[in-house]
Protein backbone atom coordinates (compact mmCIF):
# COMPACT_ATOMS: atom_id res chain seq x y z
CA UNK A 1 0.00 0.00 0.00
CA UNK A 2 1.83 3.03 -1.26
CA UNK A 3 1.80 6.30 0.58
CA UNK A 4 1.13 8.11 -2.69
CA UNK A 5 -2.48 6.94 -2.68
CA UNK A 6 -3.35 8.75 0.55
CA UNK A 7 -4.17 12.12 -1.10
CA UNK A 8 -6.10 10.19 -3.73
CA UNK A 9 -8.46 9.02 -1.00
CA UNK A 10 -9.14 12.67 -0.20
CA UNK A 11 -9.51 13.76 -3.82
CA UNK A 12 -11.77 10.92 -4.96
CA UNK A 13 -14.82 11.87 -2.86
CA UNK A 14 -14.41 15.52 -3.91
CA UNK A 15 -14.35 14.58 -7.59
CA UNK A 16 -17.30 12.26 -7.10
CA UNK A 17 -19.20 15.09 -5.39
CA UNK A 18 -18.48 17.41 -8.32
CA UNK A 19 -19.74 14.79 -10.76
CA UNK A 20 -22.84 14.07 -8.68
CA UNK A 21 -23.77 17.75 -8.59
CA UNK A 22 -24.54 17.39 -12.28
CA UNK A 23 -26.29 14.04 -12.13
CA UNK A 24 -30.02 13.87 -11.46
CA UNK A 25 -30.84 10.18 -11.59
CA UNK A 26 -31.16 8.71 -8.09
CA UNK A 27 -29.78 5.31 -9.09
CA UNK A 28 -26.51 6.82 -10.31
CA UNK A 29 -26.28 9.05 -7.25
CA UNK A 30 -26.68 6.16 -4.85
CA UNK A 31 -24.33 3.95 -6.82
CA UNK A 32 -21.56 6.56 -6.77
CA UNK A 33 -22.14 7.42 -3.11
CA UNK A 34 -22.04 3.85 -1.87
CA UNK A 35 -19.30 2.88 -4.31
CA UNK A 36 -16.98 5.62 -3.11
CA UNK A 37 -17.72 5.03 0.58
CA UNK A 38 -17.27 1.26 0.28
CA UNK A 39 -14.03 1.68 -1.68
CA UNK A 40 -12.72 4.09 0.97
CA UNK A 41 -13.58 1.68 3.79
CA UNK A 42 -11.76 -1.18 2.10
CA UNK A 43 -8.80 1.06 1.28
CA UNK A 44 -8.46 2.30 4.84
CA UNK A 45 -8.75 -1.23 6.22
CA UNK A 46 -5.84 -2.19 3.97
CA UNK A 47 -3.98 0.86 5.26
CA UNK A 48 -4.49 -0.35 8.82
CA UNK A 49 -2.87 -3.64 7.87
CA UNK A 50 0.11 -1.73 6.45
CA UNK A 51 0.71 0.48 9.47
CA UNK A 52 -0.15 -2.10 12.12
CA UNK A 53 3.49 -2.68 12.97
CA UNK A 54 4.15 0.96 13.73
CA UNK A 55 5.36 2.24 10.36
CA UNK A 56 4.18 5.68 9.32
CA UNK A 57 3.26 6.37 5.71
CA UNK A 58 3.98 9.92 4.63
CA UNK A 59 3.67 11.75 1.35
CA UNK A 60 4.63 15.33 0.61
CA UNK A 61 2.66 17.37 -1.85
CA UNK A 62 4.66 20.14 -3.43
CA UNK A 63 7.95 21.48 -2.12
CA UNK A 64 10.67 20.16 0.19
CA UNK A 65 9.63 18.19 3.28
CA UNK A 66 9.21 19.89 6.64
CA UNK A 67 9.01 23.30 5.03
CA UNK A 68 6.41 24.52 2.63
CA UNK A 69 5.09 21.14 1.52
CA UNK A 70 1.72 19.87 2.63
CA UNK A 71 2.35 16.52 4.21
CA UNK A 72 -0.12 13.72 4.64
CA UNK A 73 0.99 11.18 7.22
CA UNK A 74 -0.93 8.10 8.29
CA UNK A 75 0.07 6.19 11.38
CA UNK A 76 -1.87 3.54 13.28
CA UNK A 77 -4.10 6.09 15.03
CA UNK A 78 -5.05 7.83 11.78
CA UNK A 79 -5.63 4.57 9.94
CA UNK A 80 -7.91 3.20 12.67
CA UNK A 81 -9.91 6.42 12.82
CA UNK A 82 -10.20 6.58 9.05
CA UNK A 83 -11.54 3.03 8.82
CA UNK A 84 -14.03 3.52 11.63
CA UNK A 85 -15.40 6.82 10.31
CA UNK A 86 -15.73 5.66 6.72
CA UNK A 87 -17.50 2.46 7.80
CA UNK A 88 -20.00 4.36 9.93
CA UNK A 89 -20.51 6.98 7.19
CA UNK A 90 -21.35 4.16 4.80
CA UNK A 91 -23.92 2.73 7.22
CA UNK A 92 -25.40 6.16 7.95
CA UNK A 93 -25.74 6.78 4.22
CA UNK A 94 -27.63 3.49 3.93
CA UNK A 95 -29.84 4.66 6.79
CA UNK A 96 -30.42 7.96 5.00
CA UNK A 97 -31.57 6.12 1.92
CA UNK A 98 -34.04 4.29 4.15
CA UNK A 99 -35.45 7.46 5.73
CA UNK A 100 -35.75 9.24 2.43
CA UNK A 101 -33.16 11.93 3.13
CA UNK A 102 -31.41 10.74 0.03
CA UNK A 103 -34.21 12.10 -2.15
CA UNK A 104 -32.82 15.59 -2.05
CA UNK A 105 -30.41 15.67 -4.92
CA UNK A 106 -27.71 17.53 -3.05
CA UNK A 107 -27.56 15.10 -0.14
CA UNK A 108 -25.11 12.69 -1.79
CA UNK A 109 -22.61 15.39 -2.95
CA UNK A 110 -22.66 17.00 0.50
CA UNK A 111 -22.01 13.69 2.22
CA UNK A 112 -19.12 13.03 -0.17
CA UNK A 113 -17.58 16.44 0.56
CA UNK A 114 -18.00 15.69 4.27
CA UNK A 115 -16.20 12.38 3.76
CA UNK A 116 -13.36 14.11 1.91
CA UNK A 117 -13.00 16.63 4.71
CA UNK A 118 -12.90 13.92 7.37
CA UNK A 119 -10.41 11.89 5.34
CA UNK A 120 -8.15 14.90 4.92
CA UNK A 121 -8.40 16.00 8.54
CA UNK A 122 -7.52 12.54 9.82
CA UNK A 123 -4.52 12.07 7.54
CA UNK A 124 -2.86 15.48 7.47
CA UNK A 125 0.16 16.40 9.54
CA UNK A 126 -0.02 20.16 9.12
CA UNK A 127 -2.03 22.41 11.42
CA UNK A 128 -3.28 24.85 8.82
CA UNK A 129 -4.20 21.97 6.54
CA UNK A 130 -6.13 20.54 9.48
CA UNK A 131 -8.01 23.84 9.76
CA UNK A 132 -8.88 23.78 6.07
CA UNK A 133 -10.12 20.20 6.23
CA UNK A 134 -12.12 20.94 9.37
CA UNK A 135 -13.85 23.69 7.40
CA UNK A 136 -14.42 21.29 4.52
CA UNK A 137 -16.09 19.02 7.08
CA UNK A 138 -18.18 21.78 8.63
CA UNK A 139 -19.57 23.69 5.66
CA UNK A 140 -21.61 20.79 4.20
CA UNK A 141 -22.82 20.08 7.72
CA UNK A 142 -24.24 23.60 7.97
CA UNK A 143 -26.44 22.77 5.01
CA UNK A 144 -27.22 19.23 6.16
CA UNK A 145 -28.36 20.38 9.60
CA UNK A 146 -30.91 22.71 7.99
CA UNK A 147 -32.37 19.78 6.13
CA UNK A 148 -34.89 18.64 8.68
CA UNK A 149 -38.65 18.47 9.01
CA UNK A 150 -38.55 19.40 12.65
CA UNK A 151 -40.13 22.75 13.44
CA UNK A 152 -37.30 23.52 15.81
CA UNK A 153 -34.59 23.23 13.19
CA UNK A 154 -34.12 27.00 12.74
CA UNK A 155 -32.81 27.76 16.24
CA UNK A 156 -30.99 24.41 16.29
CA UNK A 157 -29.14 25.21 13.07
CA UNK A 158 -28.31 28.70 14.33
CA UNK A 159 -26.78 27.38 17.54
CA UNK A 160 -24.81 24.73 15.68
CA UNK A 161 -23.49 27.13 13.04
CA UNK A 162 -22.57 29.76 15.60
CA UNK A 163 -20.73 27.36 17.88
CA UNK A 164 -18.85 25.76 14.99
CA UNK A 165 -17.86 29.13 13.53
CA UNK A 166 -16.59 30.20 16.92
CA UNK A 167 -14.54 27.04 17.18
CA UNK A 168 -13.12 27.53 13.69
CA UNK A 169 -12.17 31.17 14.30
CA UNK A 170 -10.45 30.25 17.56
CA UNK A 171 -8.67 27.39 15.83
CA UNK A 172 -7.23 29.54 13.07
CA UNK A 173 -6.10 32.05 15.70
CA UNK A 174 -4.29 29.22 17.45
CA UNK A 175 -2.66 28.17 14.19
CA UNK A 176 -1.51 31.75 13.65
CA UNK A 177 -0.03 31.88 17.15
CA UNK A 178 1.72 28.55 16.59
CA UNK A 179 3.24 29.78 13.33
CA UNK A 180 4.24 33.06 14.93
CA UNK A 181 6.14 31.41 17.75
CA UNK A 182 7.52 28.35 16.00
CA UNK A 183 7.86 29.37 12.38
CA UNK A 184 6.18 26.19 11.19
CA UNK A 185 2.76 24.59 11.31
CA UNK A 186 3.86 21.02 10.79
CA UNK A 187 2.69 18.74 13.61
CA UNK A 188 5.97 16.88 13.46
CA UNK A 189 8.17 19.97 13.68
CA UNK A 190 6.54 21.86 16.56
CA UNK A 191 8.58 21.66 19.72
CA UNK A 192 6.74 21.43 23.04
CA UNK A 193 8.43 24.45 24.52
CA UNK A 194 7.27 26.73 21.73
CA UNK A 195 3.70 25.65 21.45
CA UNK A 196 2.23 25.93 24.95
CA UNK A 197 0.20 29.13 24.54
CA UNK A 198 -0.85 28.39 20.98
CA UNK A 199 -1.72 24.87 22.07
CA UNK A 200 -3.99 26.25 24.78
CA UNK A 201 -5.94 28.28 22.21
CA UNK A 202 -6.10 25.30 19.85
CA UNK A 203 -7.30 22.98 22.61
CA UNK A 204 -10.00 25.46 23.64
CA UNK A 205 -11.26 25.61 20.04
CA UNK A 206 -11.23 21.82 19.85
CA UNK A 207 -13.01 21.55 23.20
CA UNK A 208 -15.85 23.60 21.70
CA UNK A 209 -15.83 21.28 18.71
CA UNK A 210 -15.81 18.14 20.86
CA UNK A 211 -18.49 19.51 23.22
CA UNK A 212 -16.57 19.28 26.47
CA UNK A 213 -17.79 21.09 29.55
CA UNK A 214 -18.11 24.10 29.84
CA UNK A 215 -18.56 24.63 26.10
CA UNK A 216 -20.86 21.65 25.60
CA UNK A 217 -24.20 23.47 25.43
CA UNK A 218 -24.54 23.57 21.67
CA UNK A 219 -24.59 19.79 21.26
CA UNK A 220 -27.90 19.02 22.94
CA UNK A 221 -29.52 22.06 21.33
CA UNK A 222 -28.68 21.07 17.78
CA UNK A 223 -28.29 17.32 17.31
CA UNK A 224 -31.78 16.38 18.53
CA UNK A 225 -33.44 18.60 15.95
CA UNK A 226 -31.54 17.64 12.83
CA UNK A 227 -32.94 14.86 10.70
CA UNK A 228 -32.20 11.41 12.20
CA UNK A 229 -29.80 10.24 9.49
CA UNK A 230 -27.87 13.50 9.61
CA UNK A 231 -27.67 13.40 13.41
CA UNK A 232 -26.33 9.84 13.28
CA UNK A 233 -23.69 10.85 10.75
CA UNK A 234 -22.63 13.88 12.76
CA UNK A 235 -22.43 11.90 15.98
CA UNK A 236 -19.87 9.63 14.41
CA UNK A 237 -17.89 12.30 12.59
CA UNK A 238 -17.66 15.82 13.88
CA UNK A 239 -17.00 15.53 17.56
CA UNK A 240 -14.79 12.52 16.93
CA UNK A 241 -12.58 14.44 14.49
CA UNK A 242 -12.35 17.14 17.15
CA UNK A 243 -11.25 14.54 19.71
CA UNK A 244 -8.70 13.13 17.25
CA UNK A 245 -7.23 16.62 16.86
CA UNK A 246 -7.18 17.01 20.67
CA UNK A 247 -5.13 13.81 20.89
CA UNK A 248 -2.68 14.98 18.23
CA UNK A 249 -2.18 18.47 19.62
CA UNK A 250 -2.11 17.46 23.28
CA UNK A 251 0.54 14.85 22.70
CA UNK A 252 2.57 17.51 20.86
CA UNK A 253 2.64 19.66 23.93
CA UNK A 254 3.93 16.95 26.23
CA UNK A 255 7.33 17.69 27.54
CA UNK A 256 7.88 14.66 29.72
CA UNK A 257 4.78 15.44 31.70
CA UNK A 258 1.18 16.32 30.80
CA UNK A 259 0.57 19.92 29.86
CA UNK A 260 -1.93 21.78 32.07
CA UNK A 261 -2.34 18.42 33.80
CA UNK A 262 -4.89 19.23 36.53
CA UNK A 263 -6.96 21.50 34.28
CA UNK A 264 -7.16 18.91 31.51
CA UNK A 265 -8.24 16.14 33.88
CA UNK A 266 -10.73 18.47 35.58
CA UNK A 267 -12.36 19.38 32.26
CA UNK A 268 -12.68 15.72 31.33
CA UNK A 269 -14.09 14.70 34.71
CA UNK A 270 -16.60 17.57 34.61
CA UNK A 271 -17.72 16.50 31.14
CA UNK A 272 -18.16 12.91 32.27
CA UNK A 273 -20.21 13.93 35.29
CA UNK A 274 -22.28 16.76 33.83
CA UNK A 275 -23.16 14.79 30.70
CA UNK A 276 -24.30 11.76 32.67
CA UNK A 277 -26.43 13.82 35.06
CA UNK A 278 -27.97 15.94 32.34
CA UNK A 279 -28.91 12.89 30.30
CA UNK A 280 -31.07 11.63 33.15
CA UNK A 281 -33.17 14.76 33.18
CA UNK A 282 -34.29 14.82 29.55
CA UNK A 283 -37.69 13.66 28.33
CA UNK A 284 -36.92 12.96 24.70
CA UNK A 285 -34.72 10.21 23.35
CA UNK A 286 -32.22 12.18 21.31
CA UNK A 287 -31.41 14.81 23.96
CA UNK A 288 -30.64 11.91 26.33
CA UNK A 289 -28.24 10.51 23.75
CA UNK A 290 -26.73 13.93 23.08
CA UNK A 291 -25.94 14.57 26.72
CA UNK A 292 -24.51 11.13 27.15
CA UNK A 293 -22.36 11.96 24.12
CA UNK A 294 -20.95 14.87 26.14
CA UNK A 295 -20.16 12.33 28.84
CA UNK A 296 -18.44 9.86 26.52
CA UNK A 297 -16.47 12.66 24.89
CA UNK A 298 -15.24 13.38 28.40
CA UNK A 299 -14.08 9.77 28.75
CA UNK A 300 -12.26 9.94 25.43
CA UNK A 301 -10.58 13.23 26.28
CA UNK A 302 -9.56 11.70 29.62
CA UNK A 303 -7.52 9.20 27.63
CA UNK A 304 -5.57 12.10 26.16
CA UNK A 305 -5.25 13.89 29.50
CA UNK A 306 -3.71 10.77 31.05
CA UNK A 307 -0.98 11.16 28.48
CA UNK A 308 0.98 7.94 28.93
CA UNK A 309 0.94 5.25 26.22
CA UNK A 310 -1.45 3.14 28.32
CA UNK A 311 -3.91 6.00 28.79
CA UNK A 312 -3.70 6.97 25.14
CA UNK A 313 -4.29 3.40 23.98
CA UNK A 314 -7.33 3.07 26.26
CA UNK A 315 -8.68 6.38 25.00
CA UNK A 316 -8.20 5.39 21.37
CA UNK A 317 -10.04 2.10 21.93
CA UNK A 318 -12.86 4.01 23.64
CA UNK A 319 -12.97 6.46 20.74
CA UNK A 320 -13.29 3.75 18.09
CA UNK A 321 -15.82 1.90 20.18
CA UNK A 322 -17.83 5.07 20.71
CA UNK A 323 -18.02 5.86 17.00
CA UNK A 324 -19.79 2.54 16.46
CA UNK A 325 -22.03 2.77 19.54
CA UNK A 326 -23.18 6.33 18.99
CA UNK A 327 -23.92 5.64 15.35
CA UNK A 328 -25.97 2.59 16.32
CA UNK A 329 -27.88 4.42 19.06
CA UNK A 330 -28.72 7.45 16.94
CA UNK A 331 -29.81 5.21 14.08
CA UNK A 332 -32.04 2.95 16.16
CA UNK A 333 -33.61 5.91 17.94
CA UNK A 334 -33.87 7.68 14.60
CA UNK A 335 -35.70 4.72 13.09
CA UNK A 336 -38.28 4.95 15.88
CA UNK A 337 -38.61 8.71 15.45
CA UNK A 338 -38.94 8.43 11.72
CA UNK A 339 -41.77 5.95 11.94
CA UNK A 340 -43.58 7.18 15.05
CA UNK A 341 -43.09 10.87 14.40
CA UNK A 342 -41.90 11.76 17.87
CA UNK A 343 -38.95 11.27 20.14
CA UNK A 344 -40.79 12.18 23.31
CA UNK A 345 -40.76 9.28 25.73
CA UNK A 346 -44.33 10.05 26.80
CA UNK A 347 -45.51 9.59 23.22
CA UNK A 348 -43.99 6.15 22.76
CA UNK A 349 -44.41 2.79 24.37
CA UNK A 350 -44.60 -0.94 23.90
CA UNK A 351 -41.95 -0.94 21.21
CA UNK A 352 -40.25 -4.07 22.47
CA UNK A 353 -43.29 -6.11 21.50
CA UNK A 354 -44.14 -4.35 18.26
CA UNK A 355 -40.59 -3.93 16.95
CA UNK A 356 -38.33 -6.59 18.42
CA UNK A 357 -35.53 -5.87 15.94
CA UNK A 358 -35.45 -2.18 16.79
CA UNK A 359 -35.49 -3.09 20.47
CA UNK A 360 -32.45 -5.32 19.94
CA UNK A 361 -30.77 -2.64 17.83
CA UNK A 362 -31.22 -0.21 20.71
CA UNK A 363 -30.53 -2.54 23.63
CA UNK A 364 -27.14 -3.85 22.55
CA UNK A 365 -25.44 -0.46 21.98
CA UNK A 366 -27.20 0.98 25.04
CA UNK A 367 -25.77 -1.68 27.33
CA UNK A 368 -22.40 -1.26 25.63
CA UNK A 369 -22.56 2.49 26.23
CA UNK A 370 -23.30 1.93 29.90
CA UNK A 371 -20.29 -0.35 30.13
CA UNK A 372 -21.94 -3.69 30.71
CA UNK A 373 -20.05 -6.87 29.91
CA UNK A 374 -19.73 -8.68 27.52
CA UNK A 375 -19.90 -5.70 25.18
CA UNK A 376 -17.01 -3.62 23.93
CA UNK A 377 -18.09 -0.66 26.05
CA UNK A 378 -17.16 -2.64 29.15
CA UNK A 379 -13.71 -3.41 27.77
CA UNK A 380 -13.19 0.25 26.88
CA UNK A 381 -14.33 1.59 30.25
CA UNK A 382 -12.32 -1.00 32.13
CA UNK A 383 -9.17 -0.14 30.19
CA UNK A 384 -9.69 3.57 30.77
CA UNK A 385 -10.40 3.24 34.50
CA UNK A 386 -7.37 1.00 34.93
CA UNK A 387 -5.20 3.52 33.06
CA UNK A 388 -6.53 6.32 35.28
CA UNK A 389 -5.75 4.35 38.42
CA UNK A 390 -2.25 3.55 37.22
CA UNK A 391 -1.58 7.25 36.55
CA UNK A 392 -2.75 8.12 40.03
CA UNK A 393 -5.99 9.84 39.02
CA UNK A 394 -8.13 8.06 41.57
CA UNK A 395 -10.91 10.66 41.65
CA UNK A 396 -11.21 10.57 37.88
CA UNK A 397 -11.47 6.78 37.94
CA UNK A 398 -14.14 6.88 40.65
CA UNK A 399 -16.23 9.45 38.78
CA UNK A 400 -15.84 7.47 35.57
CA UNK A 401 -17.33 4.40 37.24
CA UNK A 402 -20.17 6.33 38.90
CA UNK A 403 -21.03 8.12 35.67
CA UNK A 404 -21.23 4.71 34.01
CA UNK A 405 -24.00 3.83 36.45
CA UNK A 406 -25.78 7.10 35.68
CA UNK A 407 -25.54 6.38 31.96
CA UNK A 408 -27.01 2.96 32.61
CA UNK A 409 -29.90 4.66 34.40
CA UNK A 410 -30.48 6.98 31.43
CA UNK A 411 -30.50 4.05 29.01
CA UNK A 412 -32.89 2.16 31.28
CA UNK A 413 -35.11 5.24 31.27
CA UNK A 414 -35.38 5.11 27.49
CA UNK A 415 -35.78 1.35 27.51
CA UNK A 416 -38.48 1.41 30.17
CA UNK A 417 -40.62 4.21 28.79
CA UNK A 418 -40.26 3.69 25.07
CA UNK A 419 -39.88 -0.06 24.81
CA UNK A 420 -41.41 -1.76 27.81
CA UNK A 421 -44.22 0.46 29.11
CA UNK A 422 -47.53 0.09 27.38
CA UNK A 423 -48.39 2.54 24.66
CA UNK A 424 -51.21 5.01 25.17
CA UNK A 425 -54.30 3.33 23.74
CA UNK A 426 -55.52 6.56 22.24
CA UNK A 427 -52.42 6.95 20.08
CA UNK A 428 -53.07 6.30 16.39
CA UNK A 429 -52.00 2.97 14.94
CA UNK A 430 -48.75 3.12 13.01
CA UNK A 431 -47.14 0.62 10.66
CA UNK A 432 -43.94 -0.97 11.87
CA UNK A 433 -40.42 0.23 11.23
CA UNK A 434 -39.05 -1.02 7.93
CA UNK A 435 -36.36 -3.63 8.14
CA UNK A 436 -34.02 -1.57 5.95
CA UNK A 437 -33.95 1.15 8.57
CA UNK A 438 -32.86 -1.22 11.31
CA UNK A 439 -30.11 -3.07 9.47
CA UNK A 440 -27.33 -0.44 9.84
CA UNK A 441 -27.92 -0.19 13.58
CA UNK A 442 -27.95 -3.98 13.89
CA UNK A 443 -24.66 -4.21 12.03
CA UNK A 444 -23.01 -1.73 14.38
CA UNK A 445 -24.51 -3.56 17.36
CA UNK A 446 -22.92 -6.71 16.01
CA UNK A 447 -19.60 -4.88 15.79
CA UNK A 448 -19.77 -3.96 19.46
CA UNK A 449 -20.58 -7.53 20.45
CA UNK A 450 -17.70 -8.91 18.37
CA UNK A 451 -15.28 -6.35 19.79
CA UNK A 452 -16.44 -7.13 23.30
CA UNK A 453 -15.96 -10.85 22.99
CA UNK A 454 -12.87 -10.96 20.81
CA UNK A 455 -11.40 -7.50 20.53
CA UNK A 456 -7.79 -8.36 21.39
CA UNK A 457 -6.56 -7.59 17.91
CA UNK A 458 -8.06 -4.12 18.13
CA UNK A 459 -6.58 -3.57 21.58
CA UNK A 460 -3.16 -4.49 20.18
CA UNK A 461 -3.62 -2.01 17.33
CA UNK A 462 -4.68 0.70 19.78
CA UNK A 463 -1.60 -0.09 21.82
CA UNK A 464 0.56 0.53 18.75
CA UNK A 465 -1.36 3.74 18.10
CA UNK A 466 -0.93 4.89 21.69
CA UNK A 467 2.79 4.25 21.66
CA UNK A 468 3.07 6.05 18.35
CA UNK A 469 1.42 9.11 19.90
CA UNK A 470 3.39 9.05 23.12
CA UNK A 471 6.71 8.62 21.35
CA UNK A 472 6.51 10.50 18.06
CA UNK A 473 10.01 9.84 16.76
CA UNK A 474 8.75 7.53 14.00
CA UNK A 475 6.13 10.07 12.97
CA UNK A 476 8.66 12.90 12.91
CA UNK A 477 11.14 10.84 10.92
CA UNK A 478 8.52 9.97 8.34
CA UNK A 479 7.28 13.54 7.96
CA UNK A 480 10.49 15.51 8.22
CA UNK A 481 12.73 13.05 6.45
CA UNK A 482 15.59 11.13 8.07
Amino acid sequence: MSAQTIPLAVAAPLLAAAVLALVRRPVVRRAVLFGVLAALTVYYAALVATVADGTVLAVHIGGPPGGVAVTFAVDAFSALMLTATSLVTLLCAAFAVGTGDDDRHWFAPLVLILTAGVAGALSTSDLFNLFVFLEVTLVPSYVLVMMSDDRRRGPAARVYITASLLASTLFVTGVALAYGTAGTTSLAALAPAEVQAAGAVLLTALAVKAALVPVHGWLAQSYPYASPAVAAMFSALHTKVGLYAIYRIYTLMLDGEPAFGPVAVAVCVLSIAVGAFAALGQVEMRPILSFSMVSTNGYIALGAALAGPVGLAAGIFYLLNDIAIKGALFMSVGAVEHRYGTGRLSGLGGLARREPLVALAFLVPALSLAGMPPFSGFVAKFALVRAAMSEGQHYAAAIAVIAGLLTLAAMVKIWQRAFVAARDRRAPAVAGVRFALVVPALILGGVTVVLGLGGDWLLALCDTAGHGLADPTDYEKAVLGP
Partner: protein
Protein backbone atom coordinates in the same frame (compact mmCIF):
# COMPACT_ATOMS: atom_id res chain seq x y z
CA UNK B 1 1.31 47.58 17.63
CA UNK B 2 -1.25 48.87 15.17
CA UNK B 3 -2.12 45.31 14.20
CA UNK B 4 -2.74 44.40 17.83
CA UNK B 5 -5.00 47.44 18.30
CA UNK B 6 -6.90 46.63 15.10
CA UNK B 7 -7.38 43.00 16.20
CA UNK B 8 -8.60 44.17 19.61
CA UNK B 9 -11.17 46.53 18.09
CA UNK B 10 -12.38 43.89 15.64
CA UNK B 11 -12.72 41.19 18.26
CA UNK B 12 -14.52 43.52 20.66
CA UNK B 13 -16.96 44.61 17.98
CA UNK B 14 -17.34 41.07 16.70
CA UNK B 15 -18.10 39.55 20.09
CA UNK B 16 -20.58 42.32 20.84
CA UNK B 17 -22.43 41.73 17.57
CA UNK B 18 -22.38 37.94 17.84
CA UNK B 19 -24.21 38.19 21.15
CA UNK B 20 -26.95 40.39 19.71
CA UNK B 21 -30.37 39.29 18.59
CA UNK B 22 -30.88 38.90 14.89
CA UNK B 23 -29.10 36.83 12.31
CA UNK B 24 -27.83 39.88 10.38
CA UNK B 25 -25.97 41.16 13.43
CA UNK B 26 -24.64 37.66 14.05
CA UNK B 27 -23.32 37.51 10.51
CA UNK B 28 -21.68 40.93 10.71
CA UNK B 29 -20.15 39.90 14.01
CA UNK B 30 -18.62 36.84 12.41
CA UNK B 31 -17.30 38.92 9.54
CA UNK B 32 -15.45 41.02 12.09
CA UNK B 33 -14.21 38.00 14.06
CA UNK B 34 -12.88 36.21 11.00
CA UNK B 35 -11.18 39.38 9.82
CA UNK B 36 -9.53 39.64 13.23
CA UNK B 37 -8.30 36.06 12.85
CA UNK B 38 -6.95 36.90 9.40
CA UNK B 39 -5.08 39.88 10.81
CA UNK B 40 -3.51 37.66 13.46
CA UNK B 41 -2.46 35.27 10.72
CA UNK B 42 -0.82 38.11 8.80
CA UNK B 43 0.87 39.41 11.91
CA UNK B 44 2.34 36.00 12.66
CA UNK B 45 4.67 36.49 9.71
CA UNK B 46 6.34 39.43 11.37
CA UNK B 47 4.94 42.92 11.02
CA UNK B 48 8.36 44.42 10.36
CA UNK B 49 8.62 42.56 7.06
CA UNK B 50 6.91 44.81 4.56
CA UNK B 51 8.57 44.22 1.20
CA UNK B 52 6.87 42.01 -1.36
CA UNK B 53 7.96 38.37 -1.07
CA UNK B 54 8.94 38.13 -4.72
CA UNK B 55 12.33 37.26 -6.10
CA UNK B 56 13.74 40.03 -8.26
CA UNK B 57 11.32 42.73 -7.13
CA UNK B 58 12.83 45.21 -4.74
CA UNK B 59 15.28 44.10 -2.12
CA UNK B 60 15.05 40.89 -0.20
CA UNK B 61 15.66 42.83 2.98
CA UNK B 62 12.56 42.63 5.09
CA UNK B 63 10.73 40.59 2.47
CA UNK B 64 7.41 39.50 3.87
CA UNK B 65 6.90 35.87 4.75
CA UNK B 66 4.80 34.38 1.93
CA UNK B 67 3.38 31.50 3.94
CA UNK B 68 1.08 33.55 6.21
CA UNK B 69 -0.11 35.41 3.16
CA UNK B 70 -1.13 32.11 1.59
CA UNK B 71 -2.85 31.16 4.87
CA UNK B 72 -4.75 34.43 4.91
CA UNK B 73 -5.93 34.01 1.35
CA UNK B 74 -7.35 30.61 2.20
CA UNK B 75 -8.95 31.89 5.40
CA UNK B 76 -10.50 34.87 3.62
CA UNK B 77 -12.04 32.63 0.99
CA UNK B 78 -13.42 30.27 3.63
CA UNK B 79 -14.90 33.08 5.72
CA UNK B 80 -16.34 34.69 2.60
CA UNK B 81 -18.14 31.50 1.67
CA UNK B 82 -19.53 31.12 5.17
CA UNK B 83 -20.67 34.76 5.21
CA UNK B 84 -22.56 34.20 1.98
CA UNK B 85 -24.17 31.12 3.52
CA UNK B 86 -25.19 33.04 6.65
CA UNK B 87 -26.69 35.83 4.60
CA UNK B 88 -28.62 33.28 2.58
CA UNK B 89 -30.02 31.99 5.89
CA UNK B 90 -31.10 35.54 6.68
CA UNK B 91 -32.77 35.80 3.32
CA UNK B 92 -34.53 32.46 3.44
CA UNK B 93 -36.15 32.30 6.84
CA UNK B 94 -38.33 34.30 9.06
CA UNK B 95 -35.93 35.74 11.58
CA UNK B 96 -37.55 34.65 14.80
CA UNK B 97 -34.63 35.91 16.78
CA UNK B 98 -35.65 39.58 16.80
CA UNK B 99 -39.05 39.25 18.44
CA UNK B 100 -39.44 41.13 21.68
CA UNK B 101 -39.18 39.39 24.98
CA UNK B 102 -42.54 38.05 26.18
Amino acid sequence: MSAAVAVAILVAGGVFLVLQRGLVRLTLGFVMLTNAANLILLASGGMAQRNPPLVGVGSTENAADPLPQAFVLTAIVISFGITIFLFSLVRSGRDDDTEDDP
